[in-house]
Amino acid sequence: MAKFDTGVSRRNLLKGGLALSGALAAPTFFTRHAFGADFLNNPGNAASIKLGFNVPQTGAYADEGADELRAFQLAVKHLNGEGDGGMLNTFSSKALKGNGVLGKKVEYVTGDTQTKSDAARASAKRMIEKDGALMISGGSSSGVAIAVQGLCQDAGIIFMAGLTHSNDTTGKDRRRNGFRHFFNAYQSGAALAPVLKANYGTDRVAYHLTADYTWGWTQEESIKNATEAVGWKTAAAVKTPLGAGDFSQYITPVLNSGADVLVLNHYGKDMVNSLTQAVQFGLRDKKVNGKDFAIVVPLYSRLMAQGAGANVKGIFGSTNWHWSLKDEGSQAFVKSFGAEYGFPPSQAAHTCYVQTLLYADACERAGTFAPCEVVKALEGFEFDGLGNGPTLYRAEDHQCFKKVLVVKGNENPTSQFDLLEVVQEVPREQVTYDPNIPQFAGDLGPCNNGA
């Protein structure tokens, strides 16, 4: 009897069939957005859109994250026409009508970045792919913001950065799909140095303790450059791990370093811990080189001041915004936020609220949610009424240019929230720089619609 052996068994045939059908289906996975959609997560005829708020709910920056989330929720309320409207009433652009965005109700999803880049990217990816988020916002760590900005660029989603202060976010890591309203380390240095000179003189020796990641590095560099330009010397600049908790081993060397100023390039709980411990080690009562020892916290926030308590009194720093500002926009926002939560907003909350409004307004003005059209609407956009005076979203690097505040820990607070005193509102011109100076040189690259 003839023996037929084709070398193909039933099992192999089934395996091959499965592989073939998989291969045939695969291209549709990559192109599924191409049918009837010219950009990723196009809501089409849906009645609502989703925004993704990616904030640190755990980790060193969790307090800021919680406040950011409150602000996002308030912004969504106002966009949908609920509540008193907050800064929608004072915003110079009148495109938003309080009926959602382009007639669609605004909904949101949230994620926990855990103050870690990989966790932040995973939660942003989830919000884009599973929840269909049109825009991702949030931050509090520049490392996280830069990682998520890169992810949004690659996916084809707009990223409206929350609190991120590293020069790199709109410097070497700038991206066409990413926008930052918050100020940066260079601007802190430019605003702070003249005030430090006026208060502490030109003959000072500074010792830097720096959070060991992108934000810390750029802030250290910026403050060093700015203070050395007014005559200060730098004794040492020591990197500390993010979330170190116990900073004693880093603080003790300061005592005998000959430095008479300690610059804490820390933020959030790190700053609360390092400042508290610096005070415990008696630095504030010290006299060095015949001068009173001074501590400087270049990036300040009310939440940190609250955490550090009386230790912040008299300490200089800079901030993007403060609730005690008297302009109409700030007052409207504080009133609205205060009525909702019972306390005033932090600068992190302010920037997140503003970014949400700016995104919604840009969609409204562009007449579409398509990222590249939204980018065009935001580039070079001049606006006012959102708390920092006249502001420009510069087209070259997607950085906002506006006033920067120099603040000081309040010596005589009149209320439980009155922790920082605004020393100077530094004008926009003083903190404007060329987008291509060495610290910032980068390339926005092309816009990505994700489809």
Binding site: Q57, T58, G59, A62, D63, A236, V238, P241, G245, D246, S248, Q249, Y250, T252, P253, L255, N256, K269, V272, N273, T276, Q277, Q280, F281, G282, K286, G307, Q331, V334, K335, G338, A339, G342, F343, T414, S415, Q416, F417, D418
Partner: protein, 338 residues
Amino acid sequence: MDAILLQILNGLDKGGAYALIALGLTLIFGTLGVVNFAHGALFMLGAFCAVSLRELLTLSMKVKDESITFFDAYKEVPYLEVWFGETGTMIIDLAVPLSILFAIPIMLLIGLAMERGLIQHFYKRTHAEQILVTFGLAIVLQEIVKAYFGANPIPQPAPEAVAGSANIGALFGLGDSVVYPWWRLVYLAFSGVVIAAVFAFLQFTTFGMVVRAGMQDRETVGLLGINIQRRFTIVFGIAAVVAGLAGVMYTPILPPDYHIGMDFLVLSFVVVVVGGMGSLGGAVAAGFLLGILQSFASMNEVKSILPGIDQIIIYLVAVVILLVRPRGLMGRKGVMEG
């Protein structure tokens, strides 16, 4: 000289915490033969005894903040302050020291419950299984604390009287440049007292003598008609109290979160191994030694020669000691061997 003195103090301070945890670990290992990976969780539970007591003492009522006019703001005023005025404020200020009294019975109960409820079933199992079950228990305890208190560190200020720093330099004639926070000195003294108390208890009481005899030869002590198991259970409870108190007192130095125990556990195991498994004196000596080494390694002068050495020094020393003296500094023959 000043810098060296300060780093020694920093090292002793850290070493105090390592030594207290390592002491408990060694006690449990020496008596029950159990490698307890849940010991860090006991440190964490102690720290949260302090958090809980402060929360109890600061139970507050909401009072309208009249200084804020353009929205309704509320201040939280603790009932203790409302009822007792200054005395109430003083009691809240003393929350951390009061937590010691609060933590002793709680940690003892937790320790006894842990030993009777879980650990005793694993005496005859392999060390690997003991590690797995105690590590699992540590994770469960952490998650319970995380679910209740959240994932973020909760600051616990030291009492006002010891919140500042002491001018140590003046004592040694070194001028004003050597200052050290009072609470860290208190912690150092406290760890010294607790370690001394544990040694005295084992050395000078009948109970301690029986326990030591049991550690040497459990069977013979049992044949003498002594219920050695019950004593070992109490030793487990004592070890839990020691770890818990170390946690309570550490809260003003480092705001505790649910993970604080795990951070210390890994280092404490290295301490136990370096000191010698089963050696109480070794655990204490190695705790202080490694604390000081870690402090010196983080000096700028050292880091400029060997960058990053502060992060790995402890493990480096452990590797060297295990290569040169496989039983650790004061390890006895026959422990964890064969």
